[in-house]
Subunit: 264 residues, 3 copies
């Protein structure tokens, strides 16, 4: 993985303003839209079963985020996901709260099996819950460390032929064979809601400009993490941090990435 | 159109704190409510078919925003819209994403025909989609310039006996005969989500204190644009801009309007 | 009521990061989640009838907030509420907009009768509407003063064996016998949306660490009010205030509470 690739992908997002279609949870719709706009993408939220296939067809990437599920939304996710796959539009799954309730775990698993997302991004508890029957998640926050979930992530990625991205203190991204570790970021990122959801949305923007989804997923975590570090330099508390994080997604440039990237 | 009118309408909003009933999209509910509060109005969001008529009846203005549609919400919009019209409560339509999907285009057109909104506010792509069968919208962002849409806006306003307000680099407001151009604003406004939705909500607040809806629509775009310019003086990036924009809606006063207004 | 109790409860929230399950309105989901995270709790939003019982069972407190009702959500509130009560998980009701529409008033009353919430927190108009048939609410903002509602609050608390917390210029918390008045806070708090909803969510976090719900409700209003005062020192307008309020919830410490608490 090469720093230049992250930089050129970010540049492409800013030049093309790819349309990212999000079927996502109510809590983060606003912050996700703003993060995508700040980085240079063009977000749209649409969940009606009557329109999701049409919207997914004109999108450059599709995010399925199960953070506030209900019956109709699940139906819409399958419709949109299948249409996107048919059209070659990259599909990303964010299994928010998998492991916390049966509905979430089962829906996430079924999306993986039936839709075949290209990238799955979650925290350690969520990723563990997708393969281990006894994994438990505390609501939507991880009770496991990302280090513990790497082997499961590799297994999942290999079994489902997709990229799995686990975020945590260190982020791990794997295609089932190799693993890239991203050590950027700041603990303050876990004190604002929707950070993980934003990571998935940014990965969607990257996937829309780079068909190597491993690189796309890594690029998104690098940009997230560095933006978090930049925000933290100007913020001691979560309210200000949230504002400065959006600023950083807008301002982050070649030098920031070159100077701060920490991947292995 | 006269500067004093904008100033006195804003003053009336602040004195009366009119109740603005919004049936709007999930993405912007929070930012719309905060914008209305900052400017001095009293927002309420209610979408249940069981209560929208009652809420619209006690409201001073009603906003129908189709940004995240679904079946039940469409039903609620028609119910609320018809009741509001019956009661003489001004109705505003924001055709978010018209042109992007059939559901949105058709719903917007049907609301226009059946409910007869007093003011329609959208970006150029959306307004074009309401009259031209081949108009295309990229998600919810405009792919056309507001200058291109003026003639269509006039035609629409004349055909439906309403005010049409197109926002863009220059905003154009028309009653089908005359056109007022508002040149206030800042490009940073397009880097945060929901700016257009906020414009519609502010127009609703203005319409609740001024039955001349042409003046109301112009006043809202002037206040929006100047608040954007004020915010931009204290912000170089979208996170901070969003915060300063709310501050500006609260702080904007007579001198700001007199000194910065740019209408023709 | 004792200052040390507020301090130690806040400390416990920060140590235990209790899971607060919110079935709340769309407008405030993001700000409520962020407020809970800033104070040290762990928020989760889940509303699907298929999962609310499971989520409520693993939660440390449950918030039922009727701010944007619809049929399915009401069903979910009853399911979650009853399961929580069965499991000994504290249940809080926020009757947003009770008095404004029949649906809201009736749903709030039915939740009180059937679920038996441990704490009800609302503004004066909402609390009045729960007992007086002729009380009127202007949308979701109070048209009555909290002072006027104290007697009704006492009556309600006694009749339903719960704590009633009325917020306003002065907040009053009662168990039907005694009344505690909290005079902390700042008028700017009413210029941002969801302040009341945040108060209810913070009370849920307190109730999860202190089974004396009177103390929990008082503690939450003290922390809210002091955080508001702290935010106001660094903010002259609502946009900035909102940011600084989240910062203050994160930063508020023993000295802040000791120095600023105003209860009687």
């Amino acid at each position: 993985m090469n720093t230049e690739k992250v930089i050129s992908d970010l540049q492409k997002v800013r030049e093309n303003a790819p349309l990212v279609h999000n079927i996502t949870n109510y809590v983060v719709m606003n912050s996700t839209a703003n993060a995508l706009l700040s980085m240079g993408a063009s977000p749209v939220m649409a969940h009606a079963v009557e329109e999701v296939e049409e919207m997914a067809s004109i999108a450059s990437a599709l995010v399925l985020n199960i953070g506030t599920l209900s019956e109709k939304w699940i139906e819409a996710m399958f419709k949109a996901g299948k249409k996107a796959k048919q059209k070659g539009v990259p599909v990303l799954l964010d299994p928010v709260g998998a492991g916390a309730t049966t509905l979430r775990t089962d829906t996430a698993k079924k999306i993986i099996d039936d839709v075949r997302p290209d990238i799955i991004r979650g925290n350690a508890s969520e990723i563990l819950a997708l393969l281990k029957a006894d994994a438990k998640t505390k609501g939507v926050d991880s009770s496991a460390s990302s280090d513990d979930a790497v082997e499961i992530a590799k297994e999942l990625a290999a079994a489902k032929s997709c990229i799995v991205s686990i975020s945590g203190k260190t982020d791990y991204i794997t295609d089932g064979k190799s693993v890239v570790a991203v050590a950027n970021g700041d603990p303050m990122m876990s004190k604002i809601t929707g950070t993980g959801c934003t990571a998935t949305a940014l990965a969607a923007a990257f996937a829309s400009v780079n068909k190597n989804y491993m690189e796309a997923a890594v690029g998104a975590m690098v940009v997230m993490g560095i933006a978090g570090e930049m925000a933290r330099q100007n913020a001691d508390a979560p309210g200000t941090f949230q504002v400065k994080f959006l600023d950083a997604l807008y301002q982050i440039n070649e030098e920031d990435i070159k100077g701060k990237i920490r991947i292995a």
